[in-house]
Amino acid sequence: MTEQAYNFAYLDEQTKRMIRRAILKGVAVPGYQVPFASREMPMPYGWGTGGVQVTAACLTPGDRLKVIDQGADDTTNAVSIRSFFSRTAGVAVTEATAEATLIQTRHRIPEHPLTEDQILVYQVPIPEPLRFLEPREPETRKMHSLEEYGLMHVKLYEDIARHGAIATSYDYPVKVEGRYVMDPSPIPKFDNPKLSGCPALQLFGAGREQRIYALPPYTRVDSLDFDDHPFDPSKADHDCDLCGAGDSYLDEVIIDDAGGRMFVCSDTDFCRSRRAAGHAGRLGTPAGEAA
């Protein structure tokens, strides 16, 4: 049921046109951060205001929306954004990755492979990959224009000098089609390989920082590395304790006061559908039984 007091998908038409123009320019220059006039949204900065504005500009009444927060459909952020669009746009919602036409995500890429008929919208806190190396916006803008990314490689090199390996484990910088260095948002580097050659359109919205950028389908995305220290999309050395999956990104959960812990899929839909299909892990229960 749409709340009649709001325009379709909450934002006014003038705002949506402005965001839509920014999205189209972002698509035309993959990896480049397009400034846009981010609006105040009825949620605080840091709760996905950029992603929400991009989603609002893209939604059509026929869409089926999925929202995840760190892979989970049932956390506060995901639940409230889903209900926000269900009320202001009247769109259908789902928790199943395969059934969604538009997925808004905070910090994960779903395990289930995406298709050409889907759009993935990322919530981005800090869109500028060089920001912690160079705080001045005019300088980082110049560095992008000159393709001057030496500083980023120095940072990765210092990681290796200090830790023996590149210690960045999320927010791992990538290079898009050999041109722009881009911040993939704080997804684990485990997800980085899924950015490249993805059949779905990927859009990134940073509300507080007022930037939109994009990866068109099948765009080549390379995680930055060195010849002698190639990129390693690391993963916890366990299987999921609920569904037994050996190839998914895992969360570590403390389960008692005696050092007990378990590893579970961060993607709740992936884990649930595997258990529904009869898979069970070390602590898991087969389909139909209460966990």
Partner: protein
């Protein structure tokens, strides 16, 4: 040159702007994100000679903040009045345009259009090129948004090669024909056949 308010000027807009512009934008986004794939778009009924697709793109994307350039035939009283009434977009010469619409030969020379600056490549014009035919055959396209290769009828492949050579600067184009639209961003490589 005050044009009278006629039914032609006042009509032909969206009946339900939020929904129709949302659908039209998704088609335009798909077109720009997958160069060579032709989308069908509609909702607007602009006066001649503008196509339904070009008119719908303008209603979806243009407003008082986006100067529009009308090239050749498109620069007629009926269209000036229609665009002004429905979008409030200022009508300007090519050099100042955010959107430019017209037939390919009328849009030349392309050097007049903004291609962005090295620090703000997004500040580039979007051309809406009215085509006599638009089909998924002809020139071979590759690049972001295209899995292997795509094909599209282009007005002048060399002009798009030159535009791609400016990347990350350059203009972006929608090619329109009737209610059909295809996107051709500056990131697309036009290959030699």
């Amino acid at each position: 040159m005050a044009s009278a308010l006629t039914a032609e000027t006042l009509g032909g807009g969206f009946d339900d702007a939020p929904i129709q512009s949302a659908r039209a934008f998704r088609a335009a986004l798909d077109a720009m994100a997958r160069p060579g794939r032709i989308q069908v778009i509609g909702g607007a009924v602009p006066p001649a000679p503008l196509s339904v697709a070009a008119g719908t793109l303008l209603l979806t994307l243009a407003d008082g903040t986006t100067p529009v350039h009308l090239a050749g035939d498109a620069d007629c009283d009926a269209l000036r009045g229609w665009i002004t009434f429905h979008t409030a977009a200022p009508l300007v010469p090519a050099e100042a345009a955010v959107f430019a619409v017209g037939r390919w030969t009328d849009l030349l020379p392309l050097a007049r259009f903004a291609t962005g600056t090295p620090e703000y490549p997004d500040r580039a014009a979007t051309l809406i090129v009215e085509m006599p035919v638009l089909e998924a055959k002809g020139s071979v396209l590759a690049g972001p948004g295209i899995r292997d290769r795509a094909r599209l009828t282009l007005p002048d492949p060399d002009a798009f090669r030159a535009n791609h050579a400016l990347f990350p600067l350059g203009f972006d184009a929608f090619l329109t024909c009737g209610s059909r639209v295809a996107g051709l961003p500056r990131s697309t490589r036009v290959e030699d056949v």
